[in-house]
Symmetry: C2
Subunit: 394 residues, 2 copies
């Protein structure tokens, strides 16, 4: 097949094995709210079938969940995965992804994909915040070759339109955790203006667009940000600025508590960048529906595994002759077929399969956590579930 053929017959590409079931924006459906908390059970109808919430979304920054095949990702029970606008803009470039027939075909993932806006990466690369962040957009240097780049709300949306993800994010200003009230106030106002500009630019009828609530741990700023963003009428709402650079757990919970009351019941709520088990539980209890984080794959590459008793490090010599799986109770591919002793051997000898098995386990761990949270909501026992979980998890 030649490039021209791909371009001329996007719908007929028979080379790949999947097909969209719909061509539409997402639809959130609230099934129930838990009796004692704000925890919500729901579904999201997507272009690739209906998925359940609360949900954890694995991250595939550069159009690949690090080390895993799409089949392995799906086998963990994952539904929506993430990809990163900034990284794909630089390599391979949004035009190549578009020519490939969009991100799904490019990476062979026949499930829903969410793209972030690039905001977080861009702000961490902008060295002189005062000078580099202008009303028009953000000046910064490429992390690959130092080339001067400029990203605007319009450009972020244009890139995401071409990537053809199912859910796009507005381009927001991501302030540092240490930012002053004044800085945050300006940042919130600018983020709303940028959200508006992005929405006006958005052209992809099969792609949903989310607005992002900012405002640090300040009640009035979060309230203002939520109300003004909701006025712009997005397809879903994210809570940002909770996992940028070391925000405290208390500030994260405040940020959620101050934002949630002003978000509409009939739209999905997304807490960006959060993946510690306890934070997912706390987020769900506070009314969050979806979460994403690089944590499960990142700690896997360093030899760490989530377990019900907390994280363990498989590099540890004590696992040398431990012929049990990572977790006896886990149903993931790694736990069904491999021992700690073997995984330790793989890590110890620098073999790729080690990080891959741990990534599978860690993603499955968080997916199972959300599966159990959904059950707990059904049974109105989410606070009990939290207590039981915390009793073991250290």
């Amino acid at each position: 097949m030649k490039i021209e053929e791909v371009n001329n017959s996007k719908k007929e590409v028979s080379f790949f094995f999947f097909e969209r079931v719909n061509l539409m924006k997402i639809e959130y459906n609230l099934i129930k709210t838990e009796k004692n908390t704000k925890a919500r059970l729901g579904t999201i109808k997507t272009n690739y079938g209906t998925v359940e919430t609360p949900m954890f979304m694995p991250v595939g920054t550069k159009a690949t969940v690090k080390g895993l095949s799409p089949e392995e990702v799906k086998e963990t029970g994952s539904a929506i995965i993430l990809a990163n606008t900034y990284h794909l803009w630089l390599r391979p470039g949004e035009d190549i992804v578009e020519k490939a027939g969009g991100l799904h075909k490019f990476m062979n993932y026949d499930g829903p994909i969410l793209t972030d806006s690039g905001g977080f990466q861009v702000f961490s690369l902008a060295k002189n915040k005062k000078k580099d962040i202008t009303e028009e957009g953000v000046h910064f240097k490429s992390h690959i070759d130092g080339k001067a780049l400029f990203l605007t709300p319009e450009k972020s949306i244009e890139i995401q339109n071409k990537l053809d993800s199912d859910i796009a994010m507005s381009f927001d200003e991501c302030p540092p955790a240490s930012a002053s009230y004044e800085y945050l106030k300006n940042s919130v106002e600018r983020t709303i203006r940028w959200a508006k500009r992005g929405k006006e630019t958005h052209r992809n009828p099969n792609q949903s667009l989310f607005g992002i609530v900012q405002g640090g741990a300040y009640e009035d700023l979060r309230k203002y940000s939520a109300i003004e963003t909701v006025k712009l009428d997005f397809d879903g709402y994210s809570i940002g600025g909770v996992a940028n650079d070391g925000e405290s757990k208390e500030d994260m919970y405040k940020a959620i508590d101050y934002s949630i009351p002003y978000l509409p019941e009939n739209k999905v709520r997304y807490l960006m960048g959060v993946g510690e088990p306890i934070d997912i539980i706390e987020g769900v209890i506070r009314g969050v529906d979806i979460f994403d984080c690089v944590l499960p794959t990142r700690i896997a590459r360093h030899g760490q595994a989530f377990t019900r008793n907390g994280k363990i490090n498989l590099n540890n010599a004590k696992y040398k002759e431990d012929f049990t799986p990572i977790e006896e109770s886990c149903d993931c591919y790694a736990c069904k077929h491999y021992t700690k002793a073997y995984i330790r051997h793989l890590l110890n000898t620098g073999e790729m399969l080690g990080g891959r098995l741990l990534s599978i386990h860690n993603i499955r761990f968080l997916i199972r956590l959300t599966e159990e949270l959904r059950e707990a909501i059904k049974e109105d026992r989410i606070l009990e579930y939290k207590e039981e979980f915390l009793e073991k998890y250290h």
Copy 2:
């Protein structure tokens, strides 16, 4: 499951999903010899079912075929895989593999496994050949921590007995390609004495043991080595010393031609370390049954892929917008689901999936080559097949 339980119930380990079909040594069955050449069609009955020859065996040095799961290896059509005695002796140690229930259970591979003797690694690590190589064994330094080590024919077999591979290799002296006739003569005689010592040490009734023919490109030495090794009555015979350090193709073909006439018809013949497509074809034509090489996975990690038109490098910018598979005609997982443009993107961004997809393709390429060679033998057209292959492969 505790270590003790594994030790006490090796046969009942239910944690893993496979079982041996037999407990026996291998049996080679010659089906036919091609009309115009010495090429042989055959089968090998193993502890994990009957497999066909000619066959290419992927290498899993440290109890993992680099980057691949056992399921992926099997999906390429592979049967026997290799593991390395020297590397597993050092890490994790043969006692840990034995406690795990043997190499198959340790690495979750329910197919036949062949272990090399460590000879090749040890000789490349022995700095002072004259001083370090003694009649008793070889002194050398660990490639990991420089620790002084000593490997003997007996120790190599004892390690392999514990690893519980299906096929073990005798510990041979691997002379450099530049070795003199005198050096080679002594080396051949010592290798025969070592083969005898190894055979006397061998204790695993479910493990076959192969003898190794050495002698460089000298007709008399190869003849002598083959005849004397066959007298010791091994379960199969390897032709060694053809892929140690840059032997020429001419010398490789001579080594095969000078050895094969003295090997028994009813035993399998293994050309060690050979994996270039043309060398596999030439080896088969000369009467070789099985081959192994790190080549398909090694070049994959550097971005190279085998194709019918020769090797290509997917790092090349010309594949940036090439939305065709590596090979249109290939039935591997990588070619069925991914484009050159995507694989290039993965390589370009350092993503692990890139090398993994290329490894799958390259192994499948060599497996398909042997599948086609088997067909060509059936049809007595192996010389035509070679011509057709060479016409395209550059």
